[in-house]
């Protein structure tokens, strides 16, 4: 069950170009959070909260870590926060990746840009379950790359960049064949990437995590709907998602 809490900021640092890592302390959130869920955080002076994925969870330290890219006013404001201050958060929000249901051997994770963070917590959790994790990470350029070494510690990791400044020059989809066999895939990133990925892997089971502009972040306002084939014709990303079966929604 999500709650509104003030999380204590333990650290804030820039880990790649315009990309911040923030570690937050809160016993309840750290205990309840699952990979793929998000925090719905308030940047002071703003009307709408910002959804930011939980990138990793440390239940012993009672912390969660988020990674975010500075793209506008809200994230700029978050980046200015200092350790010791608090962050007004509604969380853990949404439904995370379904881990227990998948008794899998090898998982392929495909992340693009700021879609990478939720995959890190997932990779970690899968790895702990003994799953063989392979990851393809796409970034704009070398300067934007983060968490490469961390993923490498978990399993085979491919990096691609739009400009070729690090790893393969091109798109994540270029690498999928090279990455070889897997039982299940997980993907998170911009919609064009997700479209390409789900198209390429249409015959494989997988999950994707979606983004949309949100109002309430809790399922009440219908701002964040995505069409599907169900009777109602839609799902709500904030409360039914953000994780969906790869072929369960109409991108």
């Amino acid at each position: 069950m999500k709650e509104r809490v003030d999380m204590t900021i333990l650290s804030v640092k820039e880990i790649a170009l315009d990309t911040m890592e923030m570690t937050l302390h809160h016993p309840y959130i750290a205990a309840a959070a699952k990979p793929g869920q998000f925090l719905y955080v308030l940047a002071e002076g703003h009307t709408l909260r910002r959804p930011i994925s939980i990138a990793s969870i440390d239940s012993e330290q009672e912390t969660v870590t988020i990674l975010f890219k500075i793209i506008g006013d809200g994230t700029r404001c978050l980046a200015r926060l200092k350790p010791g201050m608090t962050l007004d958060t509604v969380g853990p929000s949404g439904n995370g990746f379904a881990l227990q249901e998948t008794s899998l051997q090898t998982a392929l994770l495909i992340g693009g840009g700021i879609g990478v963070p939720p995959l890190y917590g997932l990779a970690h959790a899968l790895h702990e379950q003994g799953v063989n994790v392979k990851t393809i990470l796409g970034f704009q350029s070398k300067a934007h790359v983060f968490y490469k070494e961390r993923f490498e510690r978990i399993g085979q990791t491919y990096v691609v960049t739009d400009d070729g400044s690090l790893g393969h020059h091109g798109l994540v989809t270029d690498i999928v064949d090279e990455a070889g066999e897997f039982d299940y895939y997980f993907s998170c990133g911009p919609v064009p990437m997700l479209k390409a990925v789900t198209h390429q892997l249409q015959d494989q089971p997988g999950s994707i995590s979606l983004e949309e502009r949100m109002g309430c972040g809790t399922g009440a306002c219908l701002a964040c709907m995505i069409r599907d084939d169900s009777a109602s014709g839609y799902k709500k990303i904030c409360s039914d998602g953000p994780v969906f079966g790869a072929n369960g929604v109409i991108l």
Binding site: T47, L48, T218, G219, A220
Partner: protein, 304 residues
Amino acid sequence: MTNLAVDLPGLRLKNPVMPASGCFGFGREYSDFYDLNKLGAVIMKAATGEARLGNATPRVAETASGMLNAIGLQNPGVEQIIASEVSFLEGYHVPVVANVAGSTIQEYVTVAEAFNKTPSVSALELNISCPNVKEGGIQFGSDPDMAAKVTEHVKAVSHLPVYVKLSPNTSDIVAMAKAVEQAGADGLSMINTLTGMQIHLASQKPTLANKTGGLSGQAIKPVAIRMIYAVKPHISIPIIGMGGIAEAEDVLEFMLAGASAVAVGTANFTNPYTCPEMINRLPGVLQQYGYESVQDAIGRGHNE
């Protein structure tokens, strides 16, 4: 003891604070955060005759002290709402207000009739001011004659009190208010959203897929206060005030302007506990400014 109760046509409110239509769904989600029994009433999301899927996304954008929305009246249709949503709200001791929308007068009438057959609905709010649909909605709300006509037709089939929700996108709000009172409205809801737009610089396009959207939140409070203050002396039916309410102080400001009760929309998004926190603070704020009851404050900003 400060008395928060207000009696309005069809609505015995234990306090004057209710969530605004469309910002609270049918209550289910917020019932995870707090006990809905704390609320004065619940105003449900708009209902239309058939299910609607609404507009394409993005449907919301943030603006300075406000937001734009273009949900487009997405809802599962009146029958489904009665079957699964009103029944959920029956579990609480709060009056339920049904927000009624449509593309034609007939659709308004059909929806109104359905809610009239639902004992747990206490009042109707006629949404003639939705700026986010191509047909109906604001069309009815920008012309006093049309507004009067839809009010009359709904009143003709409704034993439930009818609150007509006015649009601020007009040069003469007093004329609109008088026209719907004349047509039989039991109360007014003011204000719906102002039509607005944001252009996303990187994509060179409006941020919202629907291009325009409704502006709500604290940014519009001065417009709401002014319209309620302007209308109040010209009508004798009560006003449910809304538009940018975020604090208990705002509730009092709306009361002074002439509202008898208030609805809270956008502020629920900023803080899901806005309504109960506001209700808790309201007695203290009333006392601070010398009022013993909510009733006492209504319209007091008009004293010379």
